[in-house]
């Protein structure tokens, strides 16, 4: 497939453009998404001009109605792509996700469904000082909602491929964009393409320890991996790409090989996505593990504004390296017990 270098923002825009072009039943709604604004950072730029304000429609500041309207249009066969500007705002509209979108197929035994895509963004880790109510990383909640799917792309190509999948998937999807990654550049297939959900990417192969991450964790883990490689540690890096479903086959295959796992995410560590990963890996590979699965996540505090504090709340590259060391040092003990 032909590729072009572009930012994640451009890749998202292209995915939306191609979805709108392909299927009349796709439409977008959200605050400030239409031109001339074209979105608060420009993800939807140009789309209302191209497809009309009917299909790329600005909404009032009414998050519950935005998602409710998406759900309702979904019942009629539309594929609404609703934007909730920041993930911190989803609680306002969460009823429509939890009690409606995610349950519609089940409650009707398949007669109706709401195959909506909810695009949202996390600002955590940008160092912009947006603070406690505009910097959260809340994907763990959504992993706990049967009927929903959750994607968190970390590269421009993944953003395009996963968003396309999300829009045309017959189940509702929460699609989390990472503000700090929107400017990342990379090669992206120009034509429409999709990446199946539940298919992790093995970003880097190695034998000593598996580091599992997604979203903004990815560049950080890759930085840590360089440090580790410099120390002679051969690490395998996995980008999950979707958290619901999780590609456990890939994760387990890797950890079965390395016998050590570290999980890294920007979400709060306690009761975060890493807990499920660690628990499942341990259940499946208990006797093969050389050390307990290590988890690296945000500290148990709201997100502070000051850059000096924000750097402290989120996991650092050093913390990832340290966690990998921890799994290595456990080796001897684990082997003799």
């Amino acid at each position: 497939m032909q590729e072009r270098e572009m930012t994640m923002l451009e890749a998202l825009n292209l995915a939306l453009d191609q979805a709108l072009a392909r299927d009349e039943r796709v439409f977008l709604l959200g605050e400030d998404i239409a031109d001339p604004a074209g979105g608060i950072v420009g993800v939807t730029q140009g789309l209302s001009t191209k497809y009309g304000h009917d299909r790329v429609r600005d909404t009032p500041i009414s998050e519950a109605a935005i998602l409710g309207a998406a759900v309702g249009a979904g019942l009629q066969g539309f594929r609404a792509v609703a934007e909730i500007m920041f993930i911190d705002l989803i609680p306002i509209a969460l009823d429509q996700i939890l009690n409606h979108a995610a349950k519609m197929r089940f409650m009707t035994s398949g007669r109706l469904s709401s195959p909506i895509t909810i695009r949202t963004a996390t600002l955590g880790g940008m160092g912009m000082g947006t603070g406690a109510t505009h910097g959260q990383t809340l994907e763990a909640w959504f992993m706990h909602i049967p009927g929903l799917k959750v994607a968190v792309p970390a590269t421009p190509a993944d953003a395009k491929g996963l968003l396309t999948t999300a829009i045309f998937d017959d189940d509702p999807v929460l699609f989390i964009e990472t503000g700090a990654l929107l400017g990342t550049r990379g090669a992206v297939p120009v034509d429409e393409f999709s990446i199946p959900f539940g298919q992790a990417e093995v970003v880097r192969s190695g034998n000593d320890v598996t580091i599992i991450t997604y979203g903004l964790g990815r560049p950080q883990v890759l930085a840590a991996a360089d440090t580790l490689a410099g120390e002679g540690v051969s690490d395998e890096v996995i980008d999950l790409r979707t958290l619901l479903p999780i590609d456990f086959p890939t994760v387990l295959e890797s950890v079965a090989k390395t016998r050590r796992a570290v999980i890294v995410h920007y979400a709060t560590r306690f009761a975060g996505p890493g807990a499920e990963l660690a628990a499942t890996i341990t259940e499946e590979l208990f006797s093969q593990l050389a050390a307990p699965v290590a988890r690296v996540g945000a500290k148990f505090a709201p997100i502070p504004q000051a850059s000096s504090l924000e750097a402290e709340v989120f996991p650092s590259v050093a913390a990832v390296v340290e966690a990998a060391h921890r799994t290595m040092s456990g080796t001897a003990e684990a082997l003799v017990r």
Binding site: S62, Q76, H100, S109
Partner: protein, 332 residues
């Protein structure tokens, strides 16, 4: 919306409304009896007393029009033409229910009949109805969407956001408030100062009108007008239908919070005998016709109950079906 004094609906419509009302009442009586006596176990929210609005709405909507209702929606469903067996089977959680035991009283849908959603979350159906109305508009279909909800629901943020959005987008939506003067166990005076819920429509710049929701003729005239406004592309209308709920919020509610005189007064204005008398006195129906309608209603209900009571529960193996269209790698 301007209220024009209107002549009564055609005789066929009036007969149909009476049929629907008797069927609604018979269904409500039977569910109430079944649960109260322990014949079956179910959650149920009686509508007894509120039949006239539902019958008028059902008669005024076309089969292709859509409806969104609530947990207290059996009368609305019957009005829109959902088969009784389907309703009872949903309420009792049987495998023959369209939802196959996964829906339940609060979550009944019947896309064939145009009922796209019932929700147990107060107010939450209104934004969903906005989405259905948007779909109709985008499709350039001449379909109208009606959404019914209670007085209490108009205090939810969902009502406000949805009403405003429907206004901005000029959607083919009719918002039908069944004002029964109570939200669960709390009288309306404790929860709003608003004198007429219909007036809330002004905040969004669309018409709101209050009608006697116990008078099927009046409700039909107004609802029809609102529906045809919507169909003509003139946007949403809020219709507040004044009514009363004769039974508790749900079966088991002792209704201590309703003053005896208020209930007695409402029962004295029971829409069903009142309408019966009118149909008789105005010569629309004969006594024989009316009796036959009533007998048919009772029979239909009894047969449906029998079918449903005899039907099996869903098998446990069906649990994981329909969580996803594509459950590949999903947790179990």
């Amino acid at each position: 919306m301007e209220m024009r004094p209107s002549s009564p609906p055609p005789a066929a419509v009036r007969r149909r409304m009476y049929e629907l009302m008797t069927l609604m009442k018979a269904a409500d009586d039977r569910m109430t009896k079944g649960i109260t006596t322990g014949e079956f176990i179910a959650v149920y929210f009686p509508h007894r007393g509120q039949e006239a609005t539902a019958a008028a709405l059902g008669a005024a909507l076309r089969p292709t029009d859509q409806l969104v209702t609530t947990y207290r929606g059996v009368h609305d469903h019957i009005g829109k033409g959902v088969p009784l067996v389907d309703l009872f089977a949903e309420i009792l959680g049987k495998d023959i229910a369209p939802g196959r035991g996964k829906a339940g009283t609060m979550h009944i849908a019947s896309p064939q009949a145009g009922v796209m959603l019932s929700t147990g979350i107060v107010g939450a159906g209104i934004p969903v109805a906005v989405g259905l109305a948007l779909a109709a508009q985008l499709e350039k279909a001449d379909r109208v969407v009606a959404v019914t909800f209670g007085d209490g629901a108009t205090n939810t943020g969902a009502f406000h956001e949805a009403a405003n959005m429907a206004a901005v987008w000029n959607l083919p939506l009719v918002l039908v408030c069944q004002n029964n003067l109570y939200g669960e166990k709390t009288p309306i005076g404790m929860t709003m100062k608003t004198k007429q819920i219909a007036d809330r429509a002004r905040a969004y710049e669309f018409p709101g009108v209050r009608v006697n929701g116990n008078d099927p003729d009046e409700a039909y005239a107004t609802l029809s007008e609102a529906i045809e406004r919507a169909r003509a592309g003139e946007g949403p209308t809020l219709v507040e239908c004044m009514t009363f709920r004769f039974r508790g919020h749900s079966i088991g509610d002792d209704m201590v919070y309703i003053p005896k005189e208020q209930l007695a007064d409402a029962e004295a204005k029971d829409p069903i005998p009142t309408y019966r008398a009118r149909l008789l006195s105005s010569g629309v129906c004969t006594e024989e016709e009316l009796s036959s309608i009533e007998a048919t209603a009772l029979n239909t209900v009894e047969e449906a109950v029998k079918t449903v009571v005899d039907a099996p529960l869903p098998s446990p193996e069906s649990l994981m079906a329909h969580v996803y269209a594509n459950p590949d790698k999903a947790p179990v």
